[in-house]
Subunit: 410 residues, 2 copies
């Protein structure tokens, strides 16, 4: 089975938007054993879009589009797609009802434009969208299949996982099964060096490493006649990876995150946590609050950005700030102990550092961060050093601190 | 002048690499007034690559490739490109010398493979690479131009800026200039309805709307002989947009954000701010801290996630929580006033809501959020309603609250 990815939108051609959907879909399709030989991007132009459909279907069985399902006149993906298959657009009552209740729920008036979003090609399979107004759909005819999805990744990704993956699995011969190992605390090139021999020798299963913000994943994919066979086939490779990376592997699965592992461990151990942040300024609290159910264990966060806040709220000593500065091992310690005491939690977390771009010195350069964890008054501090933008330094410091908590709870 | 971007590499089709070069090049080309109507990605396959060159040149004057200039057998971009133009590859002595000194500098041995990287199509213009081993080149013949650049962005970007931009500027007639207006507090479809007539009548300048997380931008682009003429040409359109959208337009420019406008206004007015967050859990504090220089005005943030934290830290009355609940207009008010008083700031901000997926009731459904702002003890509260995931609700609530602050400061 071969597929092509066709992203539609002038904003992509102007460079206003990054085509991250092509990467996401490619990775997912590779995991399903579907071959992808072309990505294409075209703008909101009916002539070029029609030609792009014809070109893509001349090469592939399946075309997956992203974007162009919005309410405006510019949004043409569905119209031209239906035309390509010789189908009319008809009002889909289910889609319309969903759309109407969506607008009621958000308390906004549904415009005439939005009704257009509920029009579907005759005979198409509806893909509901729980995170936006544009439903997707699948047209299949004469051995060709067109799968249309909206542009925003937060809408496209769950629609793909919930509806398109089962649809494609049913139609593929043999089974492709993936396991995703999630790592932290090890650099991308170090990790790739450590598995070079496995990558070079691989046929079935395959290993695909992928890195982002202080995190790394390995996707191991095997194909076989049944899911059980595929899983058995990849078992020795997975075991070898666990042997090589040990507790740098923090979990498995597509939707796992370090914050989720931390929150789940806290719930399991019935321990409470509070955080005091300086340079990360709420990122850590936000990462924990992002996880459903975190209210059971995360009681409070303080963004003690100023020295006064560190003294008044957390009981950091003026002397400590004077002798060692706010970005110091000593200050981080007092912040962690202080926040645990103030809120009355089992664990206190503190992060203080120089996020830049200004404020760095020779002694304390931009990117220097201290992260402290106090567990029932036993304090550990890590000195971290990063490079890059303010955003990158803050993000990395947050991830590394989450990893400290995870290891402390293991 | 029209150009296409052709990225070459199987790693892109497997989803292992994100095609960020297409975005970078598109943005740069838009700024130069070069129209881009297609992006394409093909793998390291000679047949498909040759066809991709033919297709791209059938549509565009210029094709810019990224990737496939490496030393291995898989790297074919230059070979197939030269073949397309009927040119032989010959050793370029300048390129070879640069390559040799590069290897001396990094203390590594140059392999026979690397010599291949110094082979250039006859008559091509060399583009030196100061950050890697693969030089780029430009072939121009019969009105068609092929610009070949290496894949890694840290190599491609400076090569494009230093060599390709001047090359294209010399050959383009006229100038394209864009202005980007940034809006908030108005929905995408409402906004598009409001400018339908302008979009339909547009030729030069053009208006391109684009929406993301509670924010909307209009990109207005005009072409003329000089920058001054282009700016003058778009002035009436820009003025009309300001007339129609008023203070929903919060600023202009590609790198502006609502958080930046808020921090800059606070600095300008010499006012301090503290925030108390429940459902957004640090997102608002983090958005402010993300802006360089925010430490001048942002003093402290409290993530008062539990009821105890709201009472103990902010002085919210137990009675208020009992009678109205934590997600209420009353609680938001007391939180905003409380945090301003506690920290001693001019402005206090509070956000409390039901982020979901659990915890919603008929009376207080998931997505209900109260945002309060206290400016020198005058309190305003907004009731907000959102749908979607926990992450989306939190993000939208944060943006809407930033907009409240902006309007309060105007």
């Amino acid at each position: 089975m071969t597929a092509e990815i066709l992203a539609v939108g002038t904003e992509l051609l102007l460079g206003d938007t990054l085509n991250s959907n092509a990467q996401y879909l490619s990775k997912e399709l590779a995991g399903l054993g579907v071959s992808v030989y072309h990505h294409t991007v075209v703008g909101d132009n009916p002539v070029r879009l029609k030609k792009a459909y014809a070109d893509a279907f001349s090469r592939a069985d399946i075309v997956i589009t992203s974007g162009g399902l919005g309410p405006t006149k510019d949004d043409l993906t569905k119209e031209i797609g239906a035309e390509y298959f010789g189908k009319k657009l008809v009002m889909d009552e289910d889609a319309l009802k969903t759309l109407e209740s969506f607008f009621t729920r958000i308390g906004r008036v549904m415009t005439e434009n939005n009704r257009k979003q509920a029009m579907m090609p005759e005979g198409a399979l509806l893909i509901p969208n729980n995170n936006g107004t544009a439903p997707g759909c699948i047209i299949s005819d004469g051995g060709k299949t067109l799968i249309m999805l909206p542009g925003p990744p937060r809408e496209l990704n769950p629609m793909f996982e919930e509806r398109v993956v089962p649809y494609l699995r049913e139609r593929s011969d043999g089974v492709y099964v993936s396991r995703i190992l999630r790592l932290c605390g090890v650099g991308e090139s170090t990790a790739e060096d450590m598995i070079k021999d496995l990558i070079e020798a691989q046929t079935n299963p395959t290993i695909a490493p992928y890195a982002k913000l202080n995190e790394l994943t390995f996707r191991i994919t095997a194909s076989a006649k049944t899911e059980g066979e595929a899983l058995a086939l990849m078992e020795p490779t997975v075991a070898e990876l666990y042997k090589r990376f040990g507790d740098n592997i923090y979990g498995e699965g597509n939707n796992l995150s370090l914050a989720r592992v931390v929150v789940e461990k806290l719930i399991e151990k019935n321990m409470t946590i509070a955080v005091a942040e300086s340079c990360t300024g709420g990122l850590m609290a936000s990462a924990l609050v992002d996880i459903e159910g975190s209210s059971k264990v995360f009681l409070e966060g303080l963004v003690t950005y100023s020295n006064e806040a560190k003294i008044n709220r957390l009981g950091v000593k003026g002397e400590t700030l004077k002798n060692h500065g706010a970005v110091s091992c000593e200050c981080a310690k007092e912040m962690a102990v202080g926040v645990a005491k103030l809120v009355g939690t089992d664990i206190g977390i503190a992060i203080t550092g120089v996020a830049g771009p200004d404020g760095g010195t020779d002694e304390k350069p931009v990117g220097l961060v201290y992260a402290a964890i106090s567990v029932k008054s036993n304090v550990t501090v890590n000195e971290l050093k990063y490079t890059g933008s303010r955003q990158r330094i803050r993000g990395r410091a947050c991830m590394a601190t989450l990893d400290m908590i995870r290891r402390a709870l293991s």
